[in-house]
Symmetry: C2
Subunit: 209 residues, 2 copies
C-alpha cells in the first residue's frame, strides 16, 4: 500500500486536486438544495466568551451591506464601550436602546430590574414588528428570561407567531431556555476551554469591553 510518506510532492498535489474536485462537486450539489431565504432566529448561548461579540460581529456585517439594524441591551454593563463607539461610525443605520440598568448584582434592586426588562422587551417588539431593520440584536435577553423578569411564554409566542418573516433576530446570553432553542433556526453554544481571568489577567480594552 502506498502511504502519504511514500508519495512525491507531485503525487500529493495530484491526489489533493482529485480529492478537492470531488469535495467541490459534493458541496455544490448540497448547496444547490439550499434555496430558502428567511429571517432567522439566532441564539448564542453557553458559558464561554464570544456570545455578544459574535452578535455584534453579525450586526457589523449587516451594516457593511448597508442594512439598517438595531441593538437592544437588556443588561447594561460598563463593558460595551468599544462596541458603542464603533457603532457611532454607522449612526445613519443603527438604532440602539440601552434599557438595562446594569448587572443584577450592581443594581441589587429587583423591581427596578423588572421594570427595565419590561421596557426593553416592549422596545424590542416595536423594533422587530416595524420591519424597519434587517437585523435586531437582543443582547443578554437570556439573562432576564432566566431571572423570570419577563414571562418566557410571552417571548416565545411573539418570536414564533409575530416576528415578521424577513427580520433576523439575534439573542445572546447564558442559559438559553429550551423553549427558545426549540423555535430557533441557528443555535451556537460558546464553550469555555480557557479563560485569562484564571491567570489573574484583568478585563482589557478591546478584549472584554
Amino acid at each position: 500500500m502506498v502511504t502519504k510518506a511514500d508519495m512525491s510532492e507531485q503525487e500529493l498535489d495530484a491526489r489533493h486536486a482529485e480529492k478537492m474536485r470531488k469535495k467541490k462537486a459534493a458541496r455544490d450539489k448540497i448547496m444547490a438544495t439550499k434555496t430558502i431565504e428567511k429571517g432567522l432566529l439566532i441564539v448564542h448561548t453557553g458559558k464561554g466568551k464570544g456570545k455578544s461579540t459574535a452578535g455584534f460581529g453579525m450586526i457589523f456585517r449587516s451594516l457593511g451591506h448597508g442594512h439598517k439594524v438595531a441593538v437592544v441591551q437588556f443588561v447594561k454593563g460598563r463593558l460595551e464601550t468599544g462596541e458603542r463607539m464603533a457603532l457611532d461610525r454607522f449612526s445613519d443605520l443603527v438604532t440602539i436602546k440601552r434599557m438595562g440598568e446594569g448587572f443584577t448584582w450592581e443594581t441589587q434592586d429587583r423591581q427596578r430590574d423588572i421594570n427595565a426588562a419590561r421596557a426593553a422587551w416592549d422596545a424590542a417588539k416595536e423594533l422587530i414588528s416595524s420591519r424597519e431593520h434587517k437585523m435586531i440584536l437582543l443582547d443578554e435577553l437570556n439573562i432576564v428570561l432566566r431571572y423570570e423578569y419577563i414571562p418566557l411564554e410571552e417571548v416565545v409566542a411573539y418570536l414564533r407567531d409575530e416576528k415578521p418573516e424577513d427580520v433576523h433576530v439575534v439573542i445572546t446570553g447564558r442559559n438559553a431556555k429550551e423553549e427558545l432553542i426549540e423555535i430557533a433556526d441557528l443555535v451556537t453554544e460558546m464553550g469555555q476551554i480557557k479563560h485569562p481571568f484564571r491567570s489573574g489577567v484583568k478585563p482589557q480594552e478591546g478584549v472584554e469591553f
Copy 2:
C-alpha cells in the same frame, strides 16, 4: 420552610437585594485579584458558527477604542464581503491582508494554497512584530495548520517566544491544534446546536457573509 411561592413580592425583593449584595461583594473581591495586563493569544475553534464573526466583533470593539488593528485572511472565500465593507468605515485604523486564494476545494491546487499560506504567515509575523497594531486577527489560520501548509512548530514557536507582550492575536478556524490551545490565554469552542442549512435555508447577506 418558606418556599419561593409563599413569599410576597416585598419578601422576594428583599431576598434578591441581599443575595445580590453578597454576589457583588464576592465578585468585587475576585476582580480585585485580576491585575495583569497583557497581549492575549485568543483562539476561536469548534464546528459551530461564530468563530470568525466573534473575531471580527473583537476587531470592531478594538476599533471603537481607536486602536489600530490588522486582519490577515488565510482562506479567502466569497463570504466576507459584509465585514470588508464595514471595515472600510475605519480605513484610517485597519490594515487588511487577503492572502488566501479561496477555499481548498475551490482552488484545487495544493502548491498555490501552500504558497498563499506561506505569504500570509510571513505577512502576519511582520504585522505582529511591528507592534503597530493593538490586535491582529489571523482568520482561518487553523485551516492551513490542519492541512500542514505551514509547520505547526514554526507558528507555535513564534507566538510563544516572539510575539510582543502587548499585542493581542486572535486565531480562528475549526480543529485548532492542541499545541496552539496549550499556549493560548483564551480559548472558546463554538459548538453547533442547530444550523439553518439543515432546513434548506441558503447563505444570506448579513448572516453568512
